[in-house]
């Protein structure tokens, strides 16, 4: 039987409808979502992503062209676990981002900031046997997005992950600590719970920082495991 989404959804997830983010108004479902027993749905095996190509070098976004991209070189690394605490091993992690000037290589992006011929901004890797991933990239720039007057997205890197279950699939964004645009961003602020928002902000990590080479940011990811599949409240 359909139930109210509000009875089902945790405050750590954004709602579908968040009018401050204007694009949700015509795209959020208006009808109640149909709730299925987790053993019929959420806990079923997730998609098998093996056809998505992952090549050696795909995890270093600074080495995909003849020259070095402009910008602040960074290492972004962390551990992917499920909500039961188990590492998510050998799972696909896909990332994409704007360049240091805040411009995406995507032809749909018309922000008048320069493209960088040495930066595409897309990478892939698999987590290792302990659920760890690591990318080398450059710090993306902020960019304007016309959602409201003088709207700017905080610097962010998009992430896509699969995990073991249907309900583990996650597409999200990683933000940088101390970014003054964070409190103003309707996309991040759509998450009702401050703890949830904080989970999307990476930590500067001296241990990941490589001397004379790159700043390190640590960002751990928790995918939904069995303990996070919905239960009656």
């Amino acid at each position: 039987m359909p139930v109210k989404v509000s009875d089902w959804q945790s405050d750590s997830e954004p709602p579908y409808l968040h009018p401050d983010y204007r694009s949700t108004v015509r795209r959020a479902p208006a009808r109640e979502l149909v709730r299925l027993p987790p053993e019929w749905f959420h806990e079923l095996p997730g998609p098998v992503f093996g056809r998505v190509p992952v090549l050696p070098g795909d995890a270093d976004l600074t080495q995909q062209h003849d020259g070095q991209p402009l910008g602040e070189r960074i290492v972004v690394s962390g551990r992917v676990v499920d909500s039961d605490g188990h590492p998510v091993r050998h799972t696909l992690v896909e990332v994409w981002q704007a360049n240091a000037a805040g411009r995406y290589v995507d032809p749909e992006d018309d922000h008048p900031a320069p493209l960088d011929p040495n930066f595409t901004g897309a990478g892939r890797c698999l987590t290792d046997g302990e659920g760890r991933y690591r990318f080398v990239t450059i710090k993306p720039g902020a960019y304007p997005w016309r959602n409201h007057e003088n709207a700017w997205r905080p610097a962010h890197i998009h992430f896509s992950l699969f995990g073991p279950f249907l309900a583990s699939r996650l597409v999200t964004q990683m933000y940088f600590p101390g970014d003054p645009l964070i409190p103003l961003d309707p996309i991040l602020q759509s998450i009702p719970d401050q703890r949830g928002r904080d989970l999307l902000v990476a930590a500067f990590d001296p241990a990941l920082t490589e001397p004379e080479w790159a700043l390190g940011y640590r960002w751990d990811i928790t995918l939904r495991g069995r303990s996070a599949t919905p239960r009656e409240r």
Binding site: Y21, T24, A30, V34, G50, P107, V171
Partner: protein, 154 residues
């Protein structure tokens, strides 16, 4: 607490699609699925990403300027449910993915007994069943409004 979702945004087309991504059949006898992703005003969603999967098959298609997508898959044969394909929708304006299913129009008896379809209000069940259009199956996804597609709570 699980890491929260955020929108796929509008600018993923250079990153997430991959060569052959729409064809999970690998040359086996397969069905072609064509559809359109539409918003609450009936307008095409040109910056969406649709994933279809079932069993060992996984396919991904970015919508085009008309909101259109297509897939080639082998019809799955699950043991205890009517044949269906899992469908996941991402788009600018979707802060979290939407999950639904596509069922097959030539499986009336199995569909009538399917435990998931039977959880859905009868007037809305048709939104999950593709239509035969010649050699292809037509499966439109309406995010909102009249004939809104049934989505499942994640």
């Amino acid at each position: 607490m699980p890491t929260p979702s955020q929108t796929v945004g509008p600018f993923f087309g250079f990153a997430l699609p991959f060569a052959g991504g729409q064809d999970a059949a690998g040359g086996r006898p397969a069905v072609r699925i064509e559809g359109q992703l539409l918003d609450g005003a009936g307008e095409p969603v040109p910056d969406g990403l649709v994933e279809m999967w079932g069993g060992e098959q996984f396919a991904r298609c970015r919508t085009d300027a008309e909101g259109a997508f297509n897939f080639t898959i082998v019809k799955p044969a699950p043991a205890d449910e009517a044949p269906h394909v899992n469908v996941t929708v991402f788009a600018r304006g979707l802060l979290r993915q939407l999950a639904t299913r596509m069922y097959f129009p030539d499986e009336e008896a199995a569909n009538a007994n399917d435990r998931v379809l039977n959880r859905i209000d009868p007037p809305r069940r048709h939104t999950l069943v593709a239509h035969s259009e010649g050699a292809v199956l037509r499966f439109d996804i309406r995010l909102q409004g009249e004939s809104e597609t049934v989505f499942f709570a994640l």
